[in-house]
Symmetry: D2
Subunit: 261 residues, 4 copies
């Protein structure tokens, strides 16, 4: 993925949209379809297990995604060990016929934050097995660099816990991650609303992942449009070179030419 400019590219594939959507939390397959279309996303992440139960969502998630023309990014949601995640990744590769995987190894039920040690272990193994690995990681720049060194295709740091809507609880660390790796940085988890997504892009992320923020909003379709605009806003702002922060004011209107009263 080009870094915050041009057409993004992950693992050699060009994507025009910088929004990756998750399907979890959706209460209705029809609304989810409209939200996906409205979001403009080209990449939707799907948990292996979710697919199995998709039949209950009258119609089938995969059929819908195919209809939308989006690429599927299988994830290993719900795995708590490297061993488990590696197994699920292999099953997903067969099921979805893609070497791409959003690698999740959860460390804690309450926070759903990743377990960095297990994550790195799983990433190393999957890279060796030929996967294009996109790890859901902490906001730790050292771990991000180790994942990059291990051959991952990008890193997906959490802004805050999954579904918390707390946005980016540590923008400083997202900036440090941006400096520590030359890979695509995709803000994953914690997005609550549009301005969070814009901020992530302004801090140097290349893309943003959103699931609950859209699927659980009161109006998912409208929120999908909001986040689409926010990502474009943040991407442009990051490239436009913002003004510096000043403690005092700076007049935009100088005094010369003032009418004589």
């Amino acid at each position: 993925m080009a870094l915050n400019g041009g057409v993004p590219k992950i693992a050699g594939v060009e994507l025009r949209s910088r929004l990756i959507m998750g399907t979890g939390g959706a209460s209705n397959l029809d609304i989810l379809e409209r939200a996906i279309k409205e979001s403009g996303t080209e990449l939707v992440t799907v948990a292996l297990r979710r697919v199995d139960t998709a039949a209950t969502m009258n119609g089938g998630l995969l059929d819908m995604l195919e209809r939308c023309g989006v690429r599927v990014l299988p994830n290993t949601a719900g795995c708590y060990t490297a061993r488990e995640a590696v197994k699920v990744a292999h099953l997903a590769r067969e099921a979805f016929e893609t070497p791409w995987v959003k690698l999740e190894v959860i460390g804690d039920e309450r926070t759903l934050l990743p377990d960095g040690v297990e994550l790195l272990r799983a990433a190393e193994e999957l890279v060796a097995d030929g996967f294009q690995v996109l790890p859901y990681t902490t906001d730790d720049p050292v771990l991000a660099r180790r994942l990059a060194d291990a051959g991952c295709a990008g890193v997906m740091p959490a802004g805050s816990p999954i579904g918390s809507g707390l946005g980016l609880s540590n923008p400083h660390h997202i900036q440090l991650i941006r400096q520590s790796v030359d890979l695509p940085v995709i803000l994953d988890a914690g997005i609550g609303t549009a301005s969070d997504a814009a901020l992530a892009m302004e801090l140097g992320c290349d893309a943003v992942m959103a699931a609950s923020a859209i699927t659980r909003a009161a109006d998912p379709v409208r929120m999908a449009a909001a986040i689409r605009h926010a990502i474009e806003a943040g991407r442009l702002a990051a490239r436009a070179g913002r003004i510096p922060r000043r403690f005092h004011a700076l007049a935009s209107t100088p005094d010369e030419g003032r009418p004589d009263l």
Copy 2:
């Protein structure tokens, strides 16, 4: 102006764009023109004195604004007393043939924050004189309500000092202002980048004013596009009903249907 939905209306005039642009800080009339066009704004604020010197900006600011098809919102920038601001407003009404005025009564050279007491006095007088008054005010919800009671057409609270780029230094007060008046709330001053504008709209503002954030950005045209998207993002997000903030995580992917490993 409809409150954060539908087509905005100020003083009876419908505006499709919720971005009001300032011209101060622009170093080049040609770039300013392209930024104005890119921003999609329909309303540009101009200081009376600035117009007088516009001739030095090879071509003339007013001609350019007319070419862009935007409405001019004269302001009283640089006035430090009610008396001075009222005079400038009258001159501006003659010069621009509009009863609209962005009323600025500055209280302090260092912060360029408004003087609430003088501001209210000037607003009362101008309303009585038939102006459509849009006061640049503090983020004080009590003062906002008094300006509303005085018959202003909207209120324009500062997010932070003019040109500071500090964004919204007190989002809580912007929300309190939103609750305290039934008028259009236009975030004025302090915007540094796109996410600030998105946040302002999410907090319930009806529009956002930006001058330095655009005119002094490294690339004003691109920043104009960024802020245009951000305002649309924030407007949609405010109407979409964001998810609540939670201390802990909420799984987007439930455990049922997990494959047996």
Copy 3:
């Protein structure tokens, strides 16, 4: 009051403690007495009306304050106009035999934030009447300067709404007030816990006012001690010259002398 150093002085009176306590919110006179003693305060603010009902608090507030050896600072809580506040101030001067008054002119029932216009009017009148006026004001540096120009003995900006516990919702404005006046700045309203009080002092305040933070804490006596320590901590830190903020790290342990492994 000496500015954040030496022995504080308000209106010519030296005070060793930089904590001003309020009595509102106390559910029990005995606990309030112990909290006042633990806090080390020498100045306690009392609403005129509260005194009248103190009899219901078995024993009498004023007797207790006299027993504690603290000075009473009458306030005009609950007044919504300059006229009303001036009247209450006069009644308080007679009742408490002190020219000091904590001037409150509330602008809004929901936020209990001051009405700056009425406040300034009342302050001017009371200063002319020989009062030592300590106005509860907004965090607006321009209004603070106008109150100083009007002859107030100090300014008491709100950190956030009374009883909200939100702390300092706009530290930047507290710093701007510190720069705008040469009077004692006393952070009033909004303190939720100890670190808020420390921060206020670090930003340059000379003293901190706390009522609900202490009286409504689960353990008011312990919170009184906490805030006493916090104010001392912040006062010392403000004078000690803190290290600058850096984006990256700065090793505290240099590499020289590293053992050869």
Copy 4:
């Protein structure tokens, strides 16, 4: 260490002070001695290599620390691998005759943030070797729990990068760590001034480590006193039960008994 109450205890040893001091950054041994005494600390961390060069600080660091009557906590500052850190820990145990070690395994020169993978490995090995291990860790609650499971005597999460003075850049994660382990939590790294230390204690930390914040302050002795008070303030506040945060105000002075004007 008792959790934020009573007399703190680390590895079976009772400590009355909850401030751990570092010696790095000190420019003058005499001032350092006075700062240590003023701080009230009973535990001072020392890098092995620093001791070797202490002779250059006219008089010797260790002699001074003995004179102050404080316990030495050797650290492994400057180690970048588990192997290196384990070696230094062993040398330190011999040199200082203590099984306690502040375990640092740095992952990045620019941020000096820990490398979680190497840190856990070193911790496991040192625990097996009979050390009382206090790891300098990230603010990741999952890694904290793994370090606790590995048998560490406490965890020392970074508030922000060493020497950055950024304070607690993610208070939410410090709270999550507090919930994830039953061990002493000692806020390490990033403290810039007193209110940061108070906040750390309010969030549930049992102690705070400060080096640069004190040693590099303009007046280290005064800052030592400031941070001592701040830690006591935060400890008391955490136990006093703060008031909840509210969006609107809560009058501390009720309306009944209002004088009739």
